[in-house]
C-alpha cells in the first residue's frame, strides 16, 4: 500500500508538471501580449518595452518557464494582468464557495441517482423503470447551462421559491447544486440500477428471500449496501467532472467560485488566471482519482493495489 501510494503520488507530480508545461505553452500561443495588455491602448512603444523587460518577457522560453516553475513550487501562482492581483489570492478567496457547491452537488446527485437506480432496479422493465431511465438519459446528455437556466427560470423567476442566483444563504445553493448534480445523478441512476440488478440475482439475496424476509428488508438491508459500495468509489472521479461543470454552473447562477473566475478570465483573455485555475483543477482531478482508487480498495477487497 505504501509503495503504491508513493508511486501514485510521483505519477501525480509528473502529471501536474506536464499540465504546468502545457498551460505555460498556452501563454505563448495566445496572441495576447501581456505587456500590451498591461500597458493599454494609449501606451507608447517605450512603455510596452519597459513592461516587457520588467516581466522578463524578452528572456528565452526555457528561462521563463523555469522562473514560472520555481515560483510555482514556492506557492506563487503569478499575477493577473487584468485584475492586477495575485492569482493565489483570487483563487483562495473563491475556493471555499466552489467546495461548498461541490459538496452540495455530491449530496444532490447521490440522493437523486441512488434513489432512481434502486427504484428502477426493483421495478425493472416496468413503465417506472423506463421513465426513470429516460430521466437519467436526459440528465447525462442535457447541457448544464440549459438545465441551469431552466431551473432558474421556473423556480426562481416564475415561482419565486429561490433567489435568482447569488451566494450567501442555504436557499442560494439549492438550484446550482441540483444543476450540477443532475448530470451525475443520471450516471449514478444507471450504475446503481445495473449494480442492483447484479446483486438481486446473487445467491445471498435468494437466500434472504427464501428465509422469508420482507421485500423492503431484502432490498434495503441486503441488496442496497452491497450494490452501493462500488458506486461510492466513483465520487472521487466526480470531483474531476465537477471541475468542468462548475465553470458553466457558477456562471449561470452567479456563484462566486473558481469556475466563475475561470469563465471571466477566458472572456477577458486573462491567461495567468486560466493557468492557475487549470492547475488547481488538474490537482483536484488527480487527487480525486487517487481517492477513488483508495476508496475502491477499502470497499471491495477483491481489488488489489499495485
Amino acid at each position: 500500500m505504501a509503495a503504491y501510494l508513493t508511486r501514485r503520488i510521483m505519477q501525480a507530480a509528473l502529471i501536474l508538471l506536464g499540465v504546468s508545461f502545457i498551460t505555460f505553452v498556452l501563454l505563448y500561443l495566445v496572441p495576447a501580449d501581456p505587456a500590451r495588455q498591461i500597458a493599454g491602448r494609449s501606451a507608447t512603444a517605450e512603455t510596452v518595452a519597459n513592461i516587457r523587460e520588467q516581466l522578463g518577457l524578452n528572456r528565452p522560453f526555457y528561462e521563463q518557464y523555469w522562473m514560472y516553475l520555481t515560483a510555482l513550487l514556492q506557492g506563487d501562482l503569478g499575477r493577473s494582468y487584468v485584475q492586477k492581483t495575485g492569482i493565489g489570492e483570487l483563487i483562495g478567496a473563491r475556493l471555499p464557495a466552489s467546495l461548498l457547491l461541490m459538496a452540495a452537488a455530491i449530496a444532490a446527485e447521490l440522493a437523486m441517482g441512488l434513489t432512481m437506480g434502486v427504484v428502477a432496479a426493483v421495478r425493472r422493465r416496468s413503465a417506472v423503470d423506463q421513465s426513470l431511465m429516460v430521466v437519467s438519459f436526459v440528465g447525462v446528455s442535457a447541457p448544464q447551462f440549459v438545465v441551469g437556466i431552466l431551473l432558474l427560470y421556473v423556480f426562481a423567476v416564475q415561482l419565486g421559491w429561490f433567489p435568482i442566483g447569488g451566494y450567501g444563504t442555504a436557499a442560494h445553493v439549492v438550484l446550482p447544486a441540483l444543476t450540477l448534480g443532475f448530470l451525475g445523478a443520471g450516471w449514478y441512476a444507471r450504475m446503481m440500477r445495473s449494480s442492483m440488478l447484479d446483486v438481486l440475482n446473487q445467491d445471498f439475496v435468494r437466500t434472504a428471500r427464501a428465509k422469508g424476509l420482507g421485500k423492503a428488508r431484502v432490498i434495503f438491508r441486503h441488496a442496497v449496501p452491497n450494490a452501493v459500495l462500488p458506486i461510492i468509489a466513483m465520487i472521487g472521479i466526480d470531483i474531476g467532472i465537477f471541475m468542468s461543470g462548475i465553470v458553466v454552473v457558477e456562471s449561470v447562477f452567479g456563484w462566486p467560485g473558481i469556475g466563475q473566475l475561470a469563465w471571466q478570465a477566458i472572456q477577458r483573455v486573462d491567461i495567468p488566471i486560466i493557468m492557475g485555475v487549470t492547475l488547481v483543477a488538474a490537482t483536484a482531478i488527480v487527487l480525486g482519482n487517487l481517492l477513488a482508487d483508495i476508496v475502491s480498495f477499502f470497499v471491495d477487497p477483491r481489488i488489489k493495489l499495485r
Partner: protein, 539 residues
C-alpha cells in the same frame, strides 16, 4: 495674462445643473449596482476599464473634472488655475480643507507625488503616455529621473506644472483618472495592493471588498463638496450575468444593471411600458468604423475607398443592432466638440460607387478580406457590409477572429486590408477631438502594433494637428475646435475610414432612484455618475 477661475463659478455650475429640485434632495439611502465581471483594481493610476472608471472617480478626485452629465471642464481639487501666456506653465491653486479618507489633509505634495507615480515605469500605468507633455516626462518614464522635473509643489496649496510643449488638452489630462491624487503613505503601506485598499479624497470611501461577491462604498462625510454624495451607501455586486441582473431589477432587488440591457432582451425591454421611465438613453464618445489599409492595393486609390464608403448601407446596420446607435458620416462622434453638423461625407449611393470603382479600373470588382472580432453582433454586422460590397462587385471574405488577433493584424502594415472596428472601436479618453486623431488617424499611430489600422499618414494634417494643439490660449478655443473640425473633414474627404455608427448608451435603473437624467448616461463618469444619484425612499 491671468485667468483665475474662481470656486464660485464651479459651484454655481454644479448647482445650475442640479437645479432647484436637486438642491433640496436629502442625503441618505443606498443602491445596489451589479456587474458581470469582478472589479479589477481601484488604483487610479492603473484602472482602465468601463467598470472601474466611474468607481474610481467616486473614490478619488483630480485637479479637474467635468460638469456632471456634460463634457464641460470644471476645477475639482483645484480651486482655480492660471495658464502662462506661452501656454507652458499651469499654476493650480488647491482647495483648502480637502481630506483623504484616512483623515489627513491633502496638499500640493500629494499632487506632485501622484503625478510622479503615474510617470514612474514601476507603476506600469496604462495612462502614463497622456502625461508626455509635462517637462521631464521622458526622463521620469524611462526611470532615469525619480520624478517629473516639470511638477513642483510651490507651497502646500500651490502646484506648478511646466510643459515641454504647448498642449491644449492638458486640462483634460488633469481630469483623467490617472491624474487622481493619492496619499503616499497609503500607497507605501499597501504596495501593489493599493488597488484593493484605495484611499482618496472622493465622495465615497471603500469599506468592504469581498472577492467575487461585492464591493461596498460608503459616504465620505468629510467630502469637500457639501451635500454630496446623495447616497449613504453603494453596493456593487459582481458575478451577475446581465440577463440575471435585469430579472432582479424587475423584482426590485437591483437598482442599476451596470452592464446595461443585454442585447437579446433589448427590444423587449425598451418597448415594455413598465420600464418606460426607468431607461435613460445617452450619447457616448464612440465611433464604429471600417478601416481600409491605404498601403495595400487597391485601397491605395482614394476612388476605391470612396466607392466602398458609398456602398455601405449604414441605416441597415443600425437596424441590425436594434437601433442602439446612430449612423455616422465622419470620424468624430456628435458629442465631441468639433463634430461638423453640416458635413455629409460619402452618402449611400450604389450607382455612384460603381462608377467610381470602374473609373479606378476595378469595374469588374475585386477580392479582399474583412477582419472582424468574433463576438456577436460583430460578425453579423460584417455580413451586412459583405453584402453591400457584393452589390458593387467587391468580394470580401470575412475573417472573424479573436479580438486580440484582429488588433494584432491591424497593427501590421500589410495584413488586414479591411477591418470592422466593432468591439474594439475607439472611445475617447477625454472629450477633445485631439484624442480621436493621434493614435488612430495620425502618423504616430501608423506603426507596427499601433491603432491606426488604415495606415493613413498625412504629414500636412499631422502638422496642422500639432499647431491646433498648441493653441492653448482660452480665447483661441473656438478657433482651435474649428481647425480640428476641418482636419477631420479633410481626412474623411480621403476616406481612410468608413464611419458606420456612433453607439448610444442605455442605462436601466430602478424606480427607487432619481437624479438629473444626464448623470445616468454621463459621457465621462461612465456608466453612471454615482455621486449625484439619490434614493427616493430617503426623501
Amino acid at each position: 495674462m491671468k485667468k483665475w477661475l474662481l470656486t464660485g463659478v464651479a459651484g454655481a455650475a454644479a448647482l445650475a445643473l442640479a437645479g432647484t429640485a436637486q438642491a433640496d434632495v436629502k442625503q441618505g439611502g443606498s443602491m445596489i449596482v451589479t456587474y458581470k465581471d469582478d472589479v479589477s483594481t481601484l488604483d487610479p493610476a492603473i484602472g482602465y476599464d468601463w467598470q472601474n472608471w466611474s468607481m474610481i472617480k467616486s473614490l478619488f478626485d483630480a485637479l479637474m473634472d467635468y460638469k456632471p452629465g456634460t463634457t464641460e471642464l470644471v476645477p475639482d481639487l483645484a480651486e482655480s488655475y492660471d495658464i502662462s501666456a506661452d501656454g507652458l506653465v499651469y499654476t493650480f491653486k488647491l482647495r483648502s480643507g480637502v481630506k483623504f479618507h484616512n483623515g489627513r489633509d491633502m496638499t500640493a505634495k500629494d499632487v506632485k507625488y501622484s503625478l510622479d507615480r503615474v510617470a514612474n515605469p514601476k507603476t506600469q500605468s496604462p495612462g502614463a503616455g497622456f502625461f508626455g507633455s509635462i517637462k521631464g516626462f521622458d526622463e521620469a518614464s524611462s526611470g532615469a529621473a525619480s520624478g517629473l522635473s516639470g511638477v513642483e509643489a510651490v507651497d502646500d496649496r500651490t502646484i506648478r506644472i511646466t510643459l515641454s510643449r504647448p498642449d491644449a488638452t492638458f486640462l483634460h489630462v488633469m481630469a483623467l483618472n490617472f491624474a487622481s491624487v493619492v496619499p503616499q503613505e497609503e500607497v507605501a503601506k499597501h504596495g501593489t495592493d493599493f488597488g484593493t485598499n484605495p484611499v482618496g479624497t472622493g465622495a465615497f470611501k471603500m469599506t468592504d471588498w469581498t472577492r467575487g461577491q461585492h464591493v461596498v462604498f460608503e459616504r465620505n462625510k468629510d467630502y469637500y463638496q457639501k451635500g454630496l454624495p446623495k447616497l449613504d451607501k453603494i453596493t456593487f455586486e459582481v458575478g451577475q450575468e446581465p440577463i440575471v441582473a435585469l430579472l432582479r431589477l424587475e423584482r426590485g432587488e437591483v437598482d442599476i444593471a451596470g452592464d446595461g440591457i443585454p442585447p437579446a432582451k433589448f427590444l423587449a425591454t425598451i418597448k415594455d411600458p413598465k420600464f418606460k421611465d426607468q431607461i435613460v438613453e445617452g450619447k457616448q464618445l464612440h465611433t464604429g468604423y471600417v478601416t481600409m489599409n491605404v498601403k495595400m492595393k487597391p485601397f491605395d486609390d482614394v476612388r476605391v475607398r470612396k466607392a466602398v464608403a458609398m456602398s455601405i448601407n449604414k441605416d441597415r446596420i443600425v437596424r441590425i443592432i436594434n437601433g442602439r446607435a446612430v449612423s455616422a458620416n465622419q470620424p468624430l462622434p456628435p458629442l465631441m466638440p468639433g463634430y461638423d453638423t453640416q458635413y455629409k461625407g460619402q452618402t449611400f449611393n450604389i450607382a455612384a460607387a460603381k462608377e467610381l470603382l470602374s473609373e479606378a479600373g476595378h469595374g469588374g470588382g475585386f477580392t479582399t478580406e474583412l477582419y472582424v472580432a468574433n463576438t456577436d453582433p460583430q460578425p453579423r454586422i460584417a455580413q451586412a457590409i459583405q453584402q453591400d460590397l457584393a452589390a458593387i462587385g467587391i468580394k470580401a471574405e470575412i475573417k472573424a477572429l479573436g479580438q486580440a488577433n484582429v488588433i494584432a493584424a491591424g497593427g501590421e502594415p500589410d495584413q488586414a486590408p479591411m477591418i470592422w472596428s466593432g468591439g474594439m472601436a475607439w472611445i475617447a479618453d477625454f472629450p477633445d477631438p485631439s484624442n480621436f486623431y493621434g493614435p488612430i488617424l495620425g502618423c504616430g499611430g501608423a506603426v507596427k502594433g499601433g491603432w491606426n489600422w488604415s495606415w493613413y499618414c498625412n504629414k500636412e494634417l499631422d502638422e496642422r494637428a500639432k499647431k491646433a494643439d498648441a493653441m492653448t490660449d482660452p480665447s483661441q478655443t473656438t478657433a482651435r475646435i474649428e481647425e480640428w473640425k476641418k482636419i477631420f473633414t479633410s481626412i474623411q474627404d480621403e476616406a481612410p475610414w468608413v464611419p458606420i455608427f456612433n453607439e448610444q448608451r442605455f442605462t436601466i435603473r430602478s424606480s427607487r432612484l432619481d437624479g438629473p437624467a444626464g448623470i445616468f448616461v454621463d459621457p465621462v463618469h461612465i456608466p453612471v455618475h454615482y455621486d449625484y444619484v439619490h434614493a427616493k425612499d430617503a426623501q
